[in-house]
Amino acid sequence: MVSSDEALMIAYRRGEAKAFDELLLRYRTPLFSTLRRLVGDRALAEDLFQETFLRVIQHAGRYDAGRKFSGWVFRIARNLAVDALRQRGVRREEELDDEHHDPAGGPDRALARAEQGEAISRALELLPLEQREVFLMREWAGLSFKEIAEVTESPLNTVLGRMHLAVKKLRASLAEHAEA
């Protein structure tokens, strides 16, 4: 019988270490991938991933069993990512500027050369943070739009509006790649 994330978290709180292992296994890919695309830096994503789960361990006693674990863990991760990006704000903009002035021909040319997966990966990094996080949490983390609204503390319509814009831009990037 497959236990829910919430049941696993409660089991860990009771002292079952294996329940934590199962949670880590379930969330390692969606959470790490989301963080990786959110911050655009693998080393920083690793730090944030570790910090997220350390906070899960540290605050296990305060976990509200009536709340979805996915929403809770993504909220922790998202807040950490936003703080980290805020601290690195200037550098991040500089990095993006460098990318935009790619001597090889700019992002459009780079997208044309890349495979489709690579294209959408690149297009994702070019999305504004608000649109990117909504897309990643919905697409990779599997959170519903309502849950994303809770995690980001935004109205549902705002979340849907951001998703709509993200899909529109990604679709345009894919179309450009296909034409190239």
Binding site: Y12, G15, A17, F20, D21, L24, R28, T29, P30, F32, S33, R36, R42, A45, E46, F49, Q50, F53, L54, I57, Q58, A60, Q116, G117, A119, I120, S121, L124, F135, R138, E139, W140, S144, F145, K146, N157, L160, G161, M163, H164, V167, L170, R171, L174, A175
Partner: protein
């Protein structure tokens, strides 16, 4: 690519179509959208575009895992946190773990128990106002009157011989003007139940006044 939506289907754009494409609409609303899509090329193209982006985003190799060493460190941290968690004994406040607290608690319990028993005893023996109503008094008289016989019957004792009996006097010659002397002479007999109660009430009254 982006066909202009007709005014009739404008309400389905954005929010509704996204929720439909991700399967987050209630069944009834989803059915309405499905019927609409059958006749609306613009909305159908929108839903197909969302599906295409979803397919591209789920391409293999796009998602990544954290390093194994990082996961191992987290597993160790999770176990260390569990073993470092205070046990039940440590979670009890220090003052509760002091023997002096438990001695005091036991002493207090004994005092409360003794006081409770004393109160119950006093409560069962004290005179109540209803004892002095006519019915209560009659019941009391009856009870007190019955004190002599049942214990005696139980003990199979002979009824007590009166200490003082009527003494038959020698007929006296009553002189004229001395008729009082002709009254039969009785020695005091044991108190009746009513007498005892009356005496008890008098004593109680005296006690109350004294207090």
């Amino acid at each position: 690519m982006d066909k202009e939506p007709s005014p009739a289907c404008r309400k389905f754009r954005r929010e509704r179509l996204l929720l439909y494409a991700y399967g987050e609409l209630p069944a009834g609303e989803a059915e309405v959208i499905r019927l609409h899509l059958a006749g609306c090329a613009s909305c159908r193209a929108e839903v197909e575009a969302i599906a295409a982006v979803r397919a591209a985003a789920s391409a293999p190799g796009l998602q990544e895992n954290p390093p194994s060493a990082l996961e191992a460190r987290l597993r160790i941290a999770a176990r260390e946190a569990l073993s470092a968690r205070p046990g039940l004994r440590e979670r009890i406040p220090g003052w509760l773990r002091q023997p002096r607290f438990w001695y005091a608690a036991v002493a207090a319990a004994v005092v409360v128990m003794v006081a409770g028993l004393g109160y119950r005893s006093w409560e069962s023996h004290r005179a109540r106002p209803e004892d002095f109503t006519s019915d209560g008094l009659a019941a009391l008289v009856e009870e007190v009157d019955s004190w002599d016989s049942p214990p005696l019957a139980f003990l199979e004792l002979e009824p007590a011989t009166p200490l003082f009996e009527e003494v038959e006097q020698e007929p006296e010659v009553i002189s004229p003007g001395d008729e009082a002397a002709a009254e039969p002479w009785y020695w005091p007999t044991p108190e009746s139940g009513l007498d005892k109660i009356e005496r008890g009430l008098e004593e109680l009254d005296a006690s109350v006044r004294y207090l």
